[in-house]
Amino acid sequence: MSSYTSPIREPLVTGHKTYHQITEDLVSPTEKAPNGAWILGFLISVSLLAFGLFCIAWTIWHGIGTWNLNRTIGWGWDITNFVWWIGIGHAGTLISAILLLFRQKWRTGVNRAAEAMTIFAVLCAALFPGIHVGRAWVVFYFFPYPNTRGPLWPNFNSPLLWDLFAISTYFTVSLLFWYTGLVPDFATVRDRAKGLRRKIYNFLSFGWTGSAKHWQRWESISLVLAGIATPLVLSVHTIVSFDFATSVIPGWHTTIFPPYFVAGAIFSGFAMVLTLMIITRKILNLQDYITLAHIESMNKVILVTGTIVGVAYLTELFIAWYSGYVYEQFAFFNRALGPYWWSYFGMMFCNVLSPQIFWWKKFRRNIALTFFISIVINIGMWFERFVIIATTLARDYLPSSWSYYTPTWVEIGIFTGTIGLFFTLYLLFTRVAPVVAIAEIKSILKSSGDQYTGPNAIHHHDHGHSHASHEDDHHAHEGVSHTEESSKVVNKPLMTVVKDDLKKLEGIGPKISETLNAAGIMSFEELMNTPTETLQSILDNASGNFGGNSPESWPEQAKLAFEGKWDELKDLQDRLDGGKY
C-alpha cells in the first residue's frame, strides 16, 4: 500500500511530524499545568456561570414575571438564545459526519473540538425551553410515560414536542459519536500516564487495545453513525424551524424556514468553530494541525452558507411583496423599518455583507480578520433570531396590544450564564482530552503531511522508508536498544528506488509520466540527466500519440525540481508554453 498524495491539495499537517511527535504535541496539553491565560479564562467563565445559575434560581423562585415578556411578546431572549445555541451546535456534527461522508480530510484537524462544542452548545440550548416553561420542576411532563393524569399522553402532533425528541436525540447521538472517537485517544493518553492518572484514563479509554478487529469495527461504526447523523443534523434545525413555521403568525409561517434555518445553523456553527479554533491553536500551539488550509476551508463554508442565508432573507422579502397578503407585507416592513430596525440592519450587515469579503483568498487566509468576522457572525446570527422572534411578535394583528420589549437583568444574566457554561466546559475539555483527534491525524499523515505532499515535501522513496532516518534518530534518542543494530540491517532497502511525481513538470501528463517510468526514468534526478534526444526517442517509440509534446525543457525543469527550487520552477513554467520554450 502506498498512500495517495494529491499533487494539488495543501498539506494538512505541517512541520514534518512523525507519529511520535503527533502524540507528543497533542497529548502534552493534558499533561502540563494550565497556563495563566487558561486560568484567567476559566475564572471568568465560572463567574459568568455562577451568576447565570443565580439568575435561573431567581427565575424559578419568583417566576417568569422576572423577565420582561408580556402578553404580546411571549418569546424573547429565552427562545432567541435557545435557537442561537442550537444553531451553533450544528457545525460539530456537520464537520464530523457530513465531511466524513465526503471524505474531506481537513475535518480531522477540527472535528474533535467541533463535536465537543456541539455537545456543550446543545446543553446550553436545552436549558432555555426547560426554564421558559415556567414550572421547571414539572418539565418531565413532556415525556410520554404511563402517568396518573389519565394516562394522558403528550401531544405528538406538536412541533414543540418534536423539538424535544429531536434535541435529545441529537445530544445523545453527538455524545456517543464523540466519545467513541475519543476512546483510542484516551488509550494513547493512558499509555503515557502513571499512577492514578493512568487508572483514570484506563477507565475513560474502556480498556482499548488497538487490535485490528477493534479498529475495523471502530471505522465501521464511525461511518454508519456519520451516515445517520447526517439526516439527523439536518432534521434538528428543520424541526426547530417548525416551531415557527407551523404557527399562523405572519413572518413565521413560511415554507422557506427549514432550509433557511439549516443554512443559518451551519453558518453560525462554523463561525463559532472558527472563534474557538483560532484561540485554541494559538494557546495550545496547534498551528501545525489546524493550519491556514483548515481556516480557509471553513471560511469557504462560511461564505457559501452566509450567502444562502442572504438569499433566504431576500426571498422572504420578495415573497411577502409577491403574496399580496397585507399582514405578511406589514410584518416584513415592520422588521426592516419598525421599532427594531437596528436589529434588522445589524443582521443584514453581519450575516450577508460581512462574509462576502471571503471571496478573496487573501482574506480567507488572514487569521486576525477571520477571527473578527467570526465574532461579527456570531452576533449577527443572534440578531437574526431576535428579529424573527421579538420584532415579529411586537406588532401583532391588534394595534392596541402592540408592545416593545427589552430584557431584564435576569434574562441577560441567564444568557451570559450559558456563555459561561459553554466556555467552562470547553476549557475543561482542553485539559482532559486531546483537542485534535490523534489517531485520525496519524491516519492522514502519509497522504496529507507536508513531508509527503506540497512544496516542502522531501523526496520520498516509494516503499515508505522515507522517514527511516527520522525513526532511527527517535530511537537513538529514547535509548532503545540492542535490537537497533539488527533492525538497521533489515530495514536498509537493497536498492533505493526514488520515485517522484513527474507530472509536476509542465508538459508531462499522466500518460507521458507512465511512459517515462516504463523507460526507467522515475525521479527528477534521472530525468535531468537524460538528454533531450533520448527523451524524444522514448516518446517516439512509445505507443500513443505524443506528437505535440516536446521534451526540450524537461531536463531543466527536472533539475530545478530535484534541487527543490520550486519558486524558480514556477517562474520557468510561467514562461513556458506547454513545456516548450
Binding site: 500500500m1 389519565g150 445523545t172 465501521s220 539488527s486 530495514n491
Partner: protein, 172 residues
C-alpha cells in the same frame, strides 16, 4: 482473562512494513494472533483474513426497532389509549408522527450500535486489558503470536526477517 497466554510479539516502525510482514505471514501460513496499531490501517483486514464487520446490520435492526416503537407507540397512545382531538385533526394523524419516528429510528440505531460495539469488543468502563507494549498507542505497529498455536522460534525468526526492530515475549 482467566487464561494466560504466552505471546511473542514484534514491533515495526511503519505501517507499510507491517502490511508487508502480514502478507508474508499469510503466504507462509503463519498464524498471527492479532495485530495492534495506533490507528486504523487500510488494507490490513483482507490480509489478516478478517471478514467485514456486521455492525451495520445490527444498526439496521436497531433502527427498525426504533421506527416501530415510535410509530406504533404514538399510534396506540393518541388513537387508541386516550384519543384527544388536537386542532380538528384525525386521531391517527400519520404525517405528524413522521418527525418523532425518524428521531427515534436514529436514536435506537445509534445507541444499539454503540453498545453492541463495546460489548463485542470486550470494552467498557472499568475494563482492564493486558498491555502488550505502551508504544502501540503511540507510534509502533505490533504483530503478536500465541505460542500455543505458533512455534516460538519460528515466530521470532519471522518477525526479525520481516523488519521488526524489537522482538519480545510476554505472558498476558
Amino acid at each position: 482473562m482467566a487464561n494466560h497466554k504466552d505471546i511473542v510479539y514484534g514491533l515495526y516502525n511503519d505501517e507499510e512494513e507491517l502490511l508487508k510482514a502480514v502478507k508474508v505471514a499469510g503466504d507462509k501460513h503463519i498464524d498471527i494472533m492479532d495485530v495492534y496499531t495506533p490507528f486504523p490501517i487500510h488494507g490490513l483486514d483482507p490480509l489478516l483474513g478478517l471478514s467485514e464487520s456486521r455492525l451495520h446490520i445490527g444498526g439496521f435492526v436497531y433502527g427498525a426497532l426504533g421506527t416501530l416503537t415510535a410509530f406504533l407507540g404514538m399510534s396506540w397512545m393518541l388513537a387508541k389509549d386516550w384519543p384527544v382531538i388536537f386542532g380538528g385533526k384525525p386521531h391517527w394523524s400519520v404525517p405528524a408522527f413522521i418527525p418523532i419516528t425518524f428521531e427515534l429510528t436514529v436514536l435506537f440505531a445509534s445507541i444499539g450500535m454503540v453498545v453492541t460495539f463495546y460489548i463485542i469488543n470486550g470494552l467498557g468502563p472499568g475494563v482492564v486489558n493486558p498491555t502488550i507494549d505502551l508504544r502501540i498507542t503511540d507510534d509502533k505497529f505490533c504483530i503478536a503470536f500465541d505460542t500455543a498455536s505458533t512455534d516460538k522460534a519460528s515466530a521470532e525468526s519471522f518477525l526479525r526477517s520481516t523488519g521488526a526492530f524489537e522482538v519480545n515475549s510476554k505472558t498476558i
